[in-house]
């Protein structure tokens, strides 16, 4: 499996503050890999944090940075992109574009005060339901620790 783009989450349940706060995560999942994994998790009756609102796209490369920005602006506390492993993209190169866009966008969002933990890019293959479960659960815990984004725009 390819090395993850976003660094691993270390936060434990105990460290998560604000138990009453339920973060909203908008998750863009590519149809062929990550979305399939979420289907598999569902069929396997695997429980994971219900905080995720999944948006299915045909390829992670479809994701324009403005979608991510719009999600944060509209109330998301976190945004996740799930795509195919490098080399496995159904359309050959889409996920590489996503990877490079993510690298720039994550840095730029930090300049805007959106912490890097709130925006993640994960390579999750079609059969990786467990990895999906872990990632969503961990991101939810991390966001509970960070607190709401509470974006107040202009």
């Amino acid at each position: 499996m390819a090395q993850a783009v976003s660094p691993p989450i270390q936060t434990t349940e105990a460290e998560a503050e604000r138990p009453a706060f339920e973060p909203k995560i908008v998750a863009f999942f590519c149809n062929w890999c990550t979305y399939a994994a979420s289907d598999l998790a569902g069929i396997s009756r695997m429980k994971y944090a219900p905080n995720v609102k999944i948006v299915r796209v045909m390829c992670s490369g479809r994701i324009d940075p403005s979608f991510v920005i719009e999600a944060f602006r509209s109330g998301a506390d976190g945004v996740m992109i799930g795509g195919c492993n490098p080399g496995d993209c159904h359309y050959k190169e889409g996920n590489y574009k996503t990877m490079r866009r993510y690298m720039l966008l994550s840095r730029m969002l930090q300049d805007f005060g959106i912490e890097k933990e709130r925006f993640r890019l994960e390579w999750i293959c079609a059969s990786c339901a467990r990895e999906l479960q872990e990632t969503v659960d961990k991101m939810t815990t991390e966001l509970k620790r960070l607190g709401p984004l509470d974006w107040k725009g202009v």
């Binding site: 390819a2 090395q3 783009v5 324009d64 940075p65 403005s66 920005i69 719009e70 944060f72 602006r73 490098p86 190169e93 590489y96 574009k97 990877m99 490079r100 866009r101 690298m103 720039l104 966008l105 840095r107 730029m108 300049d111 805007f112 005060g113 959106i114 984004l149 509470d150 974006w151 107040k152 725009g153 202009v154």
Partner: protein, 326 residues
């Protein structure tokens, strides 16, 4: 019966005066302009005062060209005053259009940065000297200063705007075309940006040297390269905003052997300039290996300043996150 000439006003908000210079750069054409219109307010060149504008009947000014971003209470008042007195308001220049370079102050706020200017700056005389106030008692009476806002806004975020003249500043040609259209009564739909509709690449002389599929293996800063003036600068690895910037400026910067920095702002279909610019730069870098990609993307040394240099206030996020009131 003689028809009065239409009244026109020019005003500057958080502006550098470059848009005023653009009007002066109409050169001899300015004599035609003043023959056709009555300029009733233009602080850089004429002595009419705010009270003269306040005394005018509402909607008696045909067109007000307002440049500069809005970042003080006074600028907000003046924009609203001119809006009341005018039939048409034109957002003149990048600052009025999308926030301009003063918009970069949205990465800060008033509290955070007064610290530098009156306290921490290396040339500040005393670390606890006086600080400007909006109401000040002096021995002779009371003085006022406008309130500085935390957030810079572009013009249409405070008043209704009929048209936009983009550019930092708009070229004399763009301006002359707009003035002609106004005088002839031949303006397009309300809300139109009065410049090109295609990206800058369309009018760049180097466009023919841009490969069909533009892919670069490295990104170079201007400190690392001497540009070949005959070849597309992007293809040489320098970040040029041409592909995502509205055309109409005749690619002057390219002619000056420097890449486009995006001052004409976004195209109609991609209103958030920075998001699109970031997306396209990431797309054209032809590197798949994760570590290598990371190294090259690090060479985009200042994504925020490169991608949102002229358009932060108008962008979807608008400003850096603020906990507390704006």
């Amino acid at each position: 019966m003689s028809l009065a000439k239409p009244k026109v006003a020019f005003y500057w908000c958080a502006s550098c005066g470059g848009c005023e210079e653009a009007v002066v750069d109409l050169a001899e054409k300015i004599l035609d302009v003043v023959a056709a219109v009555d300029i009733v307010f233009w602080p850089v060149a004429l002595d009419f005062k705010r009270s003269d504008v306040e005394a005018m009947p509402d909607k008696s000014i045909a067109v007000s060209f307002i440049n500069g971003a809005i970042r003080t209470s006074e600028q907000d008042e003046m924009a609203k005053l001119l809006r009341r007195k005018s039939q048409m308001v034109i957002a003149f220049g990048a600052c009025a259009h999308q926030g301009g370079i003063p918009g970069l102050a949205n990465l800060w706020n008033r509290q955070a940065i007064f610290d530098w200017y009156y306290r921490k700056g290396p040339s500040v005389a005393t670390k606890d000297g006086p600080i400007p106030l909006t109401k000040i008692k002096v021995p002779e009476g009371e003085l006022e200063l406008p309130e500085i806002w935390d957030t810079v806004k572009c013009l249409d975020q405070v008043v209704d705007v009929e048209y936009y003249l983009p550019g930092c500043p708009p070229t004399p040609k763009i301006l002359a075309n707009a003035v002609q259209a106004i005088l002839a009564g031949k303006l397009p739909a309300k809300g139109t940006v009065l410049a090109g509709t295609k990206a800058l690449c369309g009018e760049c002389k180097l466009n023919s040297t841009k490969p069909e599929k533009l892919l670069i293996k490295d990104i170079k800063r201007m400190t690392e390269i001497v540009l070949d003036p005959e070849k597309c600068y992007l293809a040489q690895g320098v970040i040029c905003m041409g592909p995502v910037t509205r055309g109409g400026c005749e690619a002057l910067c390219i002619e000056g052997r420097m890449p486009c920095s995006g001052c004409f702002g976004s195209l109609d279909k991609t209103p958030d300039y920075g998001a699109k610019a970031l997306s396209y730069v990431a797309s054209i870098v032809d590197v798949m290996d994760q570590e290598e990609a990371r190294k090259i993307m690090e060479k985009v040394a200042d994504p925020t300043g490169i991608f949102y240099r002229y358009s932060m206030p108008a962008s979807k996020l608008g400003r850096k996150r603020q906990k507390g009131a704006s």
